[in-house]
Amino acid sequence: MPSKIVAGIGLSHVPSVGPVVDRGRQSAPAWKPLFDAYVPVREWLARLKPDVAIVVYNDHGADFTFDKYPTFALGAAERYAIADEGFGTRPLPEVPGDAEFSIHLCEELIQAEFDLTVCQEMGVEHGFLVPMNLCFPHTASGWPLKSVPLQVNVIQHPLPTARRCYRLGQALRKAVSSYKEDLKVVVLGTGGMSHQLQGRRFGFMNEKFDQWFLDQLEADPDALASLSHHKIMEEAGAEAVELIMWLTMRGALSPKAKRVHRHYYAPMTTGMGLITFQD
């Protein structure tokens, strides 16, 4: 049996979740609504038993700097170190990779004209780790599955278009389905939702836009892929443009994938969204 994508998850990667996990404060009143939303998600994932998570995320100046900045970078390593993003290295185990699977994805995606930067060494930080903390908590024996990090430039314009990200997801689906090992794959599209972290508009959020985005992601992702960066930034804040990474996740699913969970919580400066699909 070839490999297949069994599920997709869109979720925010708010950095303050990291210290909450590290200090065991998940049941603090301000955080409980977020963590409670992931309880049924983890139960569902435990039933699906995925072997590999492809995590579409962006680095925040921990492992990639502007001296050389790739548009799309795919990890092709046996393991990924926990990066220090300026606040100390979090006490987490190294993330196991699947280099053979990554190499297959690189070959297929580059053949499909996605000219990726291939990384044999990559350190991961909150953009990658917070979604892992929420969906696949580690134990004393490490993380429960292997990962393939897919880093996207969503911070230094010009960025790839939303449609390009969506098409990358579609190409990813083909690439996964042509891998001969029998792997069950989950794709995580991370970042967003509405937030702006600089300028006088710091703290701007737009729940109406976020709820509309969740509706459309389920009902008409092809139309959503026509959104311009400007429209997203104007409606939802400059840093909300990370949402284009959710389209890679959605593109990797079949059009008929069924939505399973949906949640929204916006306590401070970011609309924290969650949506899951089963394929």
Binding site: P29, A30, P158
Partner: protein, 116 residues
């Protein structure tokens, strides 16, 4: 000519022109991902800034902890978090300053202000 993005009020859009302007600032911030460099910054900011060849204007922004000014001079927000951390300024403190508010005033505008 390339196509640049239309301006949005009260918003900085970090593009290649801003990135080029902020190249020294962002290189210095990137170095703060190393604990030894964080110690060096804390021990002697002036020497650390000189090492990254900051201009006099850029040094003044760092000395004043002028976060809005740093953004205008091409510092990327995610790189600025590192200078914030090493100077004891959380994202929300930097944000309050950029909004022209006190920290307490800013917190009062949030839905659940304990989720920090």
């Amino acid at each position: 000519m390339g196509i640049s993005i239309k301006e949005i009020p009260d918003t900085s859009i970090f593009d290649l022109r801003l990135s080029r302007r902020g190249v020294r600032l962002n290189r210095m911030c990137a170095a703060l991902c190393d604990p030894g460099n964080r110690d060096a910054f804390k021990a002697d900011e002036e020497t650390f800034m000189a090492r990254f060849r900051l201009s006099e204007d850029e040094k003044a922004l760092i000395r004043k902890r002028d976060f809005a000014g740093m953004i205008e001079h091409g510092m990327n927000i995610y790189f600025m978090l590192k200078i914030g951390s090493v100077t004891g300024n959380s994202l929300y403190r930097m944000g309050a300053q950029m909004r022209g508010e006190s920290y307490e005033e800013f917190l009062a505008t949030r839905n659940i202000k304990d989720a920090v």
